[in-house]
Every structure is written in C-alpha cells, then in structure tokens.
Assembly symmetry: C2
Homo-oligomer: 232 residues x 2
DNA sequence: GATGATTTGTACGTATGTATA
DNA sequence: ATATACATACGTACAAATCAT
C-alpha cells in the first residue's frame, strides 16, 4: 500500500520516493535516461542506494532497467499502455464492489463526507483541490476493500499510469461530470450494492474495452485508450 | 511476464532467480531469515548483487525487507493470504474471459492440444507431469489475453502464492476433477464465450469469497481460504 | 571495425543502527 | 540502562561492458 507513503528511513527510500515523484508529476518524461552518477550527485548520496532504488522502481514499472545500459523512464508502447488502462478499469471496479460489501461504517461515513466536500469544490471550481481530493477518494475505496493486496496492486497500477494521464480537471464540465459519476459510486457503496458499485465505477473509469480488442491484433486505426477519456 | 524466465545476464538476476526458486519450491520456508553474507557466500558473489536481488524480491512480495534487520521469506498472516487468494481468483477469471475473446487461432489450437495431452497424463496418473503441464496451461491462458500487464500481475500473484499452496495432485481424484474443470474452461474459450470462460475459471480456482468476507472483520472461525481447496 | 572514454556491474571496507546481555 | 555484538546501509575502488569516435 505504501507505494508513495511513510517517511523515508533510509537513503534508498528517499531516492525512490523522489524519483517516483518526479516521474509521476511529469518532471521526468517517459524515455528520459537516468544516470546513476547524476542521480547520486543530485541526492548527495553514492551510487549504491541509487542503484537499489532504481531496481525497486523497475519492479513497480516506472523505469526500465537494461543490463549495462542507462535506466530510462518507462515508455510503454500504445498497445501495452492500452492494456494497463483496461486492467485498471477492472481493478477499480473490483475495488468498488469489494468496498460496497466490506467497508466499515466509519469508512462509509468518511467516504460520504469526502464526497460531500468535493461537491463544494465543484461549485467553487477548485480544480486543484478537487484533483487532490480525487486521489483521496479513490484511495478510500481501495482501503475499503479490506483487501491489502487488491489495494496494493490497484494503487500501483494507478501510479504506473499517472505519467500518461493527460486529462485533468481543467474544464468545469469534466469536474461536474466526474462528481456526478462519483455520486453513483458512493450511493451504490453506501447501500452495499456490489454489482451497482462495480458498474458505476466501471462507467466512471471509462473502460475502453473495444480499443483493447482492436489492439489485440485485428485492426489498426481504432480509437485508442489514449484518446479516450481517461478517468479522472 | 518474465518473472521467472530468461537467462541471467547479471549476478543480480541469477541470485534473484535462484532465491525465488528456493522460496517457491518450498526449499526456503516462509519466515526463514535470509543473511546477505550467507547468500553471497552460497552464490560466490559479493553482498552487493545479493542486496539488489533482495530488493527486487521484496518488491514482488516474496521476501520482507526491514531496514537494518535480516530479510525474511514473506510470511503473510491468514487474512492477507486469504485476500491474495481471492484476488488471484478474480485475476485468473479475468484472464480466461480475455483469452476467450482475444486468443489467436494458433493459441486456441495450442491450448486445446495441451489440454488433450493432459487427459493422457490423468489416465496414466502422472501427477508430476500434470503439475508441470498445469503451469503451462495457466500460462497459456495468461498469454492468450494479449494483455501483457494482466498476464504479468496474474503470474506474479500466482508466484507469490506458490509457497502457500499445499494442495497438490497427489490424489487421482483431484487430478481427474482438475482436468474436468479445465475442460469447461477450454470449451468456453474455444467458442469465444467470455462469460462462460470467466465462470468456469472462477469455479476451477475455487473462489472462497465467503472466507474473505469473514476475515473482513465480522466472524472468527469460518473456513479460511487456507483450508479451502486451493486450485490446482 | 578498432580503440578510447564513459557508464554500469561487482567487490569490499567502514559507519550506523538494532538487538541482546 | 549501558554496553557489546552483529547485520545491514552506504561509500569507494576496480572490473567489465557499452558507446562514440
């Protein structure tokens, strides 16, 4: 779960967290080469912890690590990326369903409260605040599953996709639409309606199954998962 | 995908593969402490590559790595383990559904051929051969999804659970039952019947949703995922 | 295609934190 | 509670491979 949390107790952790942050934030774009020495210098540490951090980042999919060559920020091709988006849709949907069935009363109330707060942000057009709250919203649903492993792989998938998520809440329309979709998710979860929660979340994430089917090998110029609306 | 494949080009890889093998095979039991020096000596390398290998193994969940303390082979508690089993059920089911929709004709024929070969193993009672073929069977379904990411996380989940899988094919009855369940999966995939493939695989894996629900916090002494039949 | 410069891969020593007496 | 033992965390040096010329 703590893919991006907890205070770094060791050099490796702080390097890992900061490099991950730079990649996720778009500071380091996909394809960017990562020089061990450079990173070591930047962080004021030796290459050893940098190398270990890079190994871990490679495991989580944020960087690619080829032997004897510079590590690079992962740059998956369209078909791979499309596949990850599709899997994320299923995982998020699964999480919503689990949460509908398993959330504690406290968690349900917290989710509802957060959702209400977000309504205010929509009214005020506070896109930055909403973006942040949106993360918390989805994280709350991961936690609500009571399944640490499901929460972990879903969060990791989300993080891995972050560098490729261009759609933000820059338009008021999207902000409102997002919140309306959240409403359906929240209502389903609150009444413990698992299938409805799954369906609502699937709609929210904007599953583009068709795009995947195309990429699977048949056609060429179909709408890709990249072009489709990508959540938030 | 290559969580346990490809020839090791570097020390780190060979150490990682061998330690993973020992854990998965049960050679190193959960809870076993892993001493860097000891491993380095065993493999005839220095501690540096061992450390990097351990980091990667920790990312994949096979070992636990606490700062300034010995690494240990991961020993998840019952509730965590139960959660992983449940997620694996869903992932395998998802894979079967995707494969039903996306497998190439060649892959469909190969799956059918493998399944037929396994029938022979059942008749001869060749449990060892069947166990091996069973891995290939599931791997073929991962590959058939045409979704590298889904294949990767499903395989990784399977590997992660391997040390806790006690049910093997020691009884002829289980062998026959397994193959009968496979038949349903294969038939559904061959006729591109996605829902049926998902359902058949779900049945095969033996989803124990109830056990999870219990572990979620309500009851105590319900049948755990550990006690339930665990696949193969 | 060969050679030198550069970068990664590995070895090993020391510092630091943890556990135990 | 303090000290001692011990394992890991990190830094530095060297070897091997890659890339550029």
């Amino acid at each position: 779960m703590d893919a991006l949390a907890s205070p770094p107790q060791t050099s490796v952790e702080s390097v890992r967290l900061e490099v991950a942050r730079r990649i996720v934030s778009g500071d380091l774009l996909p394809g960017t080469p990562l020089d061990e020495r450079q990173l070591a210098a930047d962080f004021g540490v030796s290459r050893t912890p940098v190398r270990e951090a890079l190994r871990v980042l490679a495991s989580s999919g944020l960087v690619e690590l080829r032997a004897h060559r510079k590590a690079i920020v992962t740059q998956p091709d369209q078909s791979v990326l499309s596949g990850i988006f599709i899997v994320m849709g299923h995982l998020e949907s699964l999480c919503a369903g689990f949460s509908a069935a398993a959330m504690t009363p406290v968690q349900r109330r917290a989710l509802e409260a957060l959702h209400d707060d977000m309504a205010e942000m929509v009214r005020e057009g506070e896109t930055a605040a909403y973006t942040h709250a949106n993360e918390a919203f989805h994280n709350a649903i991961y936690e609500g599953t009571q399944n640490a492993y499901l929460a972990e792989i879903t969060l990791n998938t989300r993080i891995r996709l972050q560098p490729f998520r261009r759609a933000q809440f820059h338009q008021l329309g999207r902000l409102q639409a997002s919140h309306a979709e959240h409403t359906l998710v929240v209502e389903a979860i609150l009444r413990a309606d698992r299938p409805a929660a799954e369906a609502a979340m699937r709609d929210h994430i904007g599953l583009v199954e068709e795009a995947w089917h195309v990429f699977a090998g048949d056609a060429q110029d179909a709408p890709s998962a990249m072009n489709a609306r990508q959540e938030p």
